[in-house]
């Protein structure tokens, strides 16, 4: 039975058509993926279903009955619940207080916390969620916060759940747990829509998938009848290559060396706690880890933007641990920062100005104190074409570009400085699949040119497909070094704080035990 049917949906923002003649159906008890790139119109469609946006044409049937979705409260009445990508939880309140927030009709003014906690616990037990009802939100990990969001929706009697990119912030283990719960919900009659752009999730965990591109539905297929390649093709409209493309290559001499590095975070607490490694010419070293385990501070320390408490950073053998950022750049460091909007670009500047930042006082862009506008424009013109930055207009403001093109500006700037060491932090975060492919291929190109590339990313697929060696960080320390062929489960354990040495020792222990038995 179809619990949701959307027919002929059109949605315009001004003259821009965000959803064009959409047909979408959701069957009871299925996990249905809505797959597409950024801007494909998936979120718009789901916001229409949840009553956040009105639609211009078409109609929506819930359980066979036509419904006018004028606001989220109408959607909630019809049993639709949405878990937003950015959590809507109040950190200072408990799990129970969050779940019942705004439900005054049920709770009354005075909260009988014991009773409410009991209700949370019952719901918990029904779906194996294992959330402590009395915990404060800021004290529990994101994986558990996600479950609180789902409980919140379930407590409001939703039967149709929309999950918007639910795995973006989870560890592999948490992803596994989340989908176990989702499957349990589907088996007990709930219907789930999963908005995502991760094909591996679609293939492993869902029943059907609807692919969207540029505001249109390209097709709906059963997951068992399709392949990742086919889905990627539907999504982008051409074949894409995200698989590993590293040619075997002998690494050269070490270009970036860290020894016993200690760095504090903004609160003055240790964030990087004694890290040593080196990156050689012609190799990509990946740093994996859950967000917030010191990777960001590590990156900032390497660039010179954060004070180093003790230890040393060397570029081509020369210590830079006390040098300015400018000195780092002069010594041959290039840097793709984690946040392109606040750290990578000046949004109010045109593309061409952004393309010379860091070299603005050097020939040919400046002669003494005077900057050379002609040279800057020429440089901009060239890079805009070389890197296919759209629009092909060096005068265009960086703030008006799409995320992918903004990232290309940064990449073009850093690559064109011909650095020796390239530090890339979350270089593809929030980009769509075509842009991801482009950024990754450029990093691989730098490697084959003999640059040393350090890649810090929370995206495990990215780390595994780009790295020659992988270091896993947890709590400011390196849990171990592995090759790109490492099992995801092992990576997950290390990301959760297990040391590789301990894992090896345990494995050896079981083998020995088995031999004796």
């Amino acid at each position: 039975m179809n619990v949701v049917e959307m027919h002929g949906i059109y949605k315009y923002f001004g003259s821009f058509c965000a959803n064009k003649n959409i047909e979408f159906t959701l069957k009871q008890g299925e996990v249905h993926a809505l797959l597409g790139e950024n801007g494909a119109g998936k979120s718009t469609l789901m916001n229409i279903l949840y009553g956040l946006y009105g639609h211009d044409e078409g109609h929506i049937l819930i359980n066979g009955e036509e419904v006018h979705m004028s606001s989220p409260s109408v959607a909630i009445q019809h049993g639709i619940g949405m878990v937003h990508q950015h959590f809507m939880l109040i950190p200072q309140l408990t799990v129970t207080q969050n779940i019942f927030l705004g439900m005054d009709k049920e709770t009354g003014i005075v909260l009988h916390l014991k009773e409410l906690e009991k209700r949370v616990k019952e719901l918990n037990d029904r779906f194996g969620f294992n959330v402590e009802p009395q915990s404060l939100i800021w004290q529990i990990p994101v994986g558990v916060q996600q479950k609180v969001e789902i409980l919140k929706v379930l407590m409001r009697n939703a039967k149709i759940l929309i999950l918007d990119e639910p795995t973006a912030v989870l560890t592999p283990h948490e992803v596994e747990e989340l989908f176990t719960s989702i499957r349990m919900l589907a088996d007990s009659g709930y219907s789930i829509i999963l908005i995502t752009h991760k094909m591996s999730e679609v293939m492993t965990y869902t029943d059907r998938v609807t692919v969207m591109r540029l505001g249109e539905v390209i097709g709906t297929v059963d997951v068992k009848d399709t392949t990742e390649q086919e889905l990627a093709h539907m999504m982008v409209g051409r074949d894409v290559h995200l698989e590993r493309q590293l040619q075997p290559q002998e690494p050269g001499k070490p270009l970036l060396e860290l020894s016993d590095l200690h760095v504090n975070n903004d609160k003055g607490l240790p964030a990087v706690d004694g890290i040593s490694f080196s990156v050689h010419a012609g190799e990509i070293v990946g740093i994996a880890g859950v967000d917030g385990n010191g990777q960001l501070e590590l990156g900032e320390a390497i660039v010179g933007g954060r004070k180093i408490e003790s230890g040393d950073v060397r570029l081509e053998g020369g210590s830079v641990s006390k040098s300015s950022i400018r000195r780092h750049l002069d010594m041959g460091l290039a840097h793709i920062p984690d946040d392109r909007l606040t750290k990578g670009l000046v949004l109010q500047f045109p593309i061409k100005q952004n393309l010379i930042m860091g070299s603005q006082r050097k020939e040919p862009f400046a002669h003494g104190l005077m900057s050379d506008n002609k040279a800057i424009s020429k440089h901009g013109e060239k890079l805009v074409h070389d890197f296919d930055i759209r629009p092909h207009d060096p005068e265009y403001l960086a703030g008006g570009l799409s995320g992918g093109n903004q990232q290309k500006v940064i990449l073009a700037r850093e690559v064109s400085r011909d650095p020796k060491v390239m530090l890339a932090i979350q270089p593809t975060r929030g980009l769509d699949i075509g842009a991801i492919e482009f950024v990754r291929s450029k990093l691989v190109e730098e490697r084959s040119k003999g640059k040393a590339v350090l890649l810090i990313s929370t995206d495990l697929d990215e780390i595994r497909s780009l790295s020659d060696r992988i270091l896993v960080m947890h709590g400011g320390q390196v849990m171990g070094e592995v090759g790109p062929d490492v099992a995801v489960d092992d990576l997950g354990l290390m990301m959760a704080g297990k040391r590789l040495d301990d894992m090896k020792a345990e494995a050896a222990g079981t083998v020995e035990g088995g031999a004796e038995g």
Binding site: H84, M88, L89, I90, P91, Q92, L101, G102
Partner: protein, 307 residues
């Protein structure tokens, strides 16, 4: 013994206006409104309380007028901050100047008497709680105050209960912490913030009224003397919790009482230095408090705009 109990009693008397104003400010700040206009709001409350008490000869009506005046000042603040999304620090400053200016003008116009220097009103009498008030030390310290003191103390558990055990409290915290999340759950961010602002005005006005018609029996130009600012420090020191605010208010009340005791003791210290004691304590206490983690609202001072 006598000196000790009168010092403790003075501590409580001095702490009460800080306590009441700070409890109001706590609710306002947790809803996301950073109202630095406490001083001006208290002054308005004090003046309204004094004038109504003078004309009606009834201190209860005076108290009511003081609370309403406070409410009016925070309404001005709230409209500017919520509806017009003006910078809250600037509006707060304006409220302070407004409160100080118009109370001074009106007071001089309406009441100032060159011969006596001031006009006096009937103020809240102290209530000797039968039996308890004659217990040595404790009696004078705790059981022989005016009724507003007891109301102020009772407000500590009341505010705690409101913030932690009612859906109103969780709403206030939600709009101060993550207004968008609150909105997504059908909570009206604007209404909640207006309500919090008006409620805080009632308490700030009450604190001002206390100064005029409970702690003393007259109005003086700028009689709050920085107590509104100290109340802001008390909220920081109390880490946005009712019980913490009580402790903070007692520390400052103590500093004030100490200042008075030292003056009376006739020590050979310049008076000006002694008068500085409460303010130095403010600076030191806030510095100490800032070192520790607190639960200040994340969206404080940030106007909410619906998408």
């Amino acid at each position: 013994m006598d000196q000790l109990s009168s010092f403790l009693a003075a501590t409580i008397r001095m702490a009460i206006p800080l306590l009441i104003a700070a409890l109001g400010l706590l609710v306002s700040e947790r809803s996301g409104l950073m109202n630095i206009g406490v001083e001006g709001t208290m002054l308005s409350g004090a003046f309204a309380a004094f004038s109504v008490a003078y004309y009606t000869n009834n201190y209860w009506l005076g108290m009511l007028a003081g609370m309403l005046a406070g409410c009016f000042m925070t309404l001005v603040f709230a409209v500017a901050a919520i509806k017009f999304r003006a910078p809250q620090v600037v509006i707060g400053c304006a409220i302070n100047m407004l409160g100080s200016g118009f109370t001074a003008v009106l007071f001089r116009k309406m009441f100032f008497d060159a011969q006596t220097g001031g006009t006096q009103v009937k103020s809240f009498p102290s209530l000797q709680i039968p039996g308890l008030s004659s217990v040595p030390l404790l009696g004078e310290t705790f059981f022989s105050h005016n009724i507003i003191v007891y109301i102020g103390i009772l407000m500590v558990p009341a505010i705690w209960f409101l913030m932690n055990r009612t859906s109103i409290g969780t709403r206030i915290i939600a709009v101060g912490e993550h207004p968008k999340a609150a909105d997504s759950l059908g909570i009206n961010v604007f209404v909640t913030r207006y309500a919090a602002a008006l409620f805080s005005g009632l308490l700030m006005g009450m604190a001002g009224a206390y100064l005029a018609i409970a702690q003393s029996n007259t109005f003086q130009v700028d009689m709050t003397g920085g107590k509104g600012y100290i109340a802001m420090a008390v909220v920081v020191l109390g880490k946005w919790r009712a019980l913490g605010v009580l402790a903070g208010a007692l520390i400052f009340g103590g500093a004030n009482a100490l200042q008075m005791t030292l003056q009376n003791a006739g020590l050979n210290i310049p008076n000006n230095l002694i008068l500085m004691v409460p303010y130095i304590v403010t600076v030191l206490a806030v510095l100490a408090a800032c070192k520790q983690k607190a639960i200040d609202a994340s969206a404080k001072g940030v106007p909410y705009e619906k998408a």
